[in-house]
């Protein structure tokens, strides 16, 4: 049978492999695994913050005096060792850095991933991965937009209808009394839940702490965290809208 085997074309001229730099952190940051590790660590830091944030928010059910007192206390943590609102600023800078590193890595890795696989199969691939896994990039963009909106609403008070500094309780109630603010909030928190559902397990995988024996427990923890955080955050605006908090 005369099946002609085509001769392999001369390998396309490829740029020589860039020599590894002598700086280990630089090589780490340049590699796909290194950037992914940065995402895992910053994601874990944000997750820790969000757990504390969610629990703090629930104080709103104890009434305005308690909640405003709590909001004020947040500004004074660390005194007198730390001056004035230093603790708050350390947290802001730390979280800001975490968000920036997370988003920059996500952007660079996503660009690389899309470039590595530009041609789709004519016959669609049947995806085996979960919805949470597929939605990571869109969910991330939703979260980034939400973070900006959220800061303008409750931190700078630019968009807040009440907008009185120190009156945290009334600021929250005024925002969530508007139904579409609550809708935005709920959509963002559902995105957050999905992001954590895949992200928590994925970070364990990225950091190399997953093992076959831990896989199920990690996935169960991811789902539990996702549900608790989403529910814990959503219950506040829903309570406001339902008139339980006013």
């Amino acid at each position: 049978m005369a099946v002609t085997t085509p001769t392999r074309p001369a390998p396309a001229a490829r740029p020589p492999r860039p020599k590894r730099s002598s700086s280990a952190p630089l090589n780490f940051w340049r590699s796909t695994i290194g950037k992914k590790t940065v995402m895992a660590v910053t994601g874990a830091l944000m997750l820790l913050f969000l757990i504390v944030h969610m629990l703090g928010n629930l104080k709103i059910f104890f009434g305005p005096t308690d909640f405003d007192h709590y909001a004020h206390w947040l500004r004074t943590i660390g005194e007198p060792v730390l001056h004035g609102a230093w603790f708050l600023w350390i947290m802001r800078v730390g979280l800001g850095l975490a968000v920036i590193l997370h988003v920059v890595s996500a952007y660079q890795l996503s660009r690389r991933d899309l470039k590595a696989r530009p041609t789709k199969y004519v016959h669609h691939q049947r995806a085996r991965a979960s919805y949470a896994t597929h939605i990571m990039r869109y969910g991330g963009i939703t979260l980034a937009l939400f973070i900006v909106y959220h800061l303008l609403d409750f931190t700078t008070l630019t968009l807040n209808r009440h907008g009185v500094e120190g009156a945290a309780y009334d600021n929250v109630v005024s925002s969530f009394s508007v139904w579409w603010v609550t809708v935005i909030y709920i959509v963002a928190m559902l995105s957050l839940g999905l992001h954590i559902q895949h992200g928590f397990w994925s970070a364990a995988q990225t950091l190399g702490v997953n093992r076959p024996s831990r896989d199920r427990a990690l996935k169960a923890t991811a789902t539990t965290l996702a549900v608790l955080l989403t529910a814990g955050f959503i219950v506040v605006p829903v309570a406001v809208l339902a008139g339980l908090v006013d």
């Binding site: 074309p9 860039p18 085996r128 896994t133």
Partner: protein, 248 residues
């Protein structure tokens, strides 16, 4: 059995390709998928047409040459089975079957279903080996290997370098392939002296080839004919982190 094959035809790397439909009226359920392509090619040759180019060698599931995407699945519908070991009885009479080459920027199409997988070879060259002095082989029992470690190494050594993991990955990532080398060689005492250098070199070579990054999607492990698990990727990540922190 009567089957219709819709096959990606592309004359050369630079020319555009397209799906072309061919009828195979006399398919035998006991044929392998490659034999089906042979039957088609025999006819195309007799008719003076250009036969379909595809890679193959061992036809017994051990060389890794034969990968194509069948109905959107790398190596076709049967799990843990290479294209050469897939039988036509997996399909039904009258089926229309789409056959496409591996898709990834790092794997250019050479012709039709044949792609250039030499990127995987260059990853191997960067660290998929242990350095050993030549001469008579050392007595195997002089280096004891605990059974669980031998099992892990052996399971990962079954990777045949077919590239189905890359083809199935939405990011065209070769993490599963690379992780099989690391989980194989870095877990054995024979691989220990080059443990850190190996993983750094392998990852550098993998990134330089233009493969995408891992998003822990898991399509690779489903497509892998040898069942290399996601656990190997966790091992690769762990070894890379360890080496990057300067530990030997």
């Amino acid at each position: 059995m009567k089957l219709t094959l819709r096959i990606w035809r592309q004359a050369s790397p630079d020319e555009p390709g397209r799906m072309v439909a061919y009828e195979v009226p006399d398919a035998n359920p006991d044929m392998s998928f490659l034999e089906l392509l042979d039957v088609l090619n025999e006819r195309l040759t007799l008719e003076g047409d250009d036969p379909v180019s595809f890679d193959h060698d061992c036809r017994e599931g051990i060389c890794g040459a034969c990968g194509v995407v069948i109905n959107g699945q790398a190596h076709g519908p049967r799990e843990r089975t290479t294209t050469c070991q897939l039988h036509i009885r997996e399909f039904n009479d009258g089926d229309v079957i789409d056959v496409e080459p591996w898709r990834s920027v790092a794997f250019g199409v050479i012709k039709d279903l044949m792609v250039d997988r030499s990127g995987l070879d260059r990853i191997i060259q960067a660290g998929g080996y242990i350095s050993a002095p030549t001469g008579s082989a050392p007595e195997a029992h002089s280096t004891p290997v605990p059974k669980p470690i031998a099992d892990t190494a052996f399971d990962n050594a079954t990777c045949i370098g077919c590239g189905a993991c890359v083809a199935a990955c939405p990011n065209g990532s070769s993490m599963l392939f690379t992780s099989a080398k690391v989980a194989h060689l870095n877990s054995l005492p024979q691989g220990a002296p080059e443990r850190a250098e190996r993983v750094l070199n392998l990852v550098e070579a993998m990134d330089a080839e233009g493969f995408g990054g891992c998003t822990n999607t898991g399509e690779c492990t489903v497509a892998c004919p040898k069942g290399i698990p996601m656990d190997s990727i966790a091992t690769l990540n762990r070894e890379y982190l360890r080496a990057s922190l300067g530990r030997k």
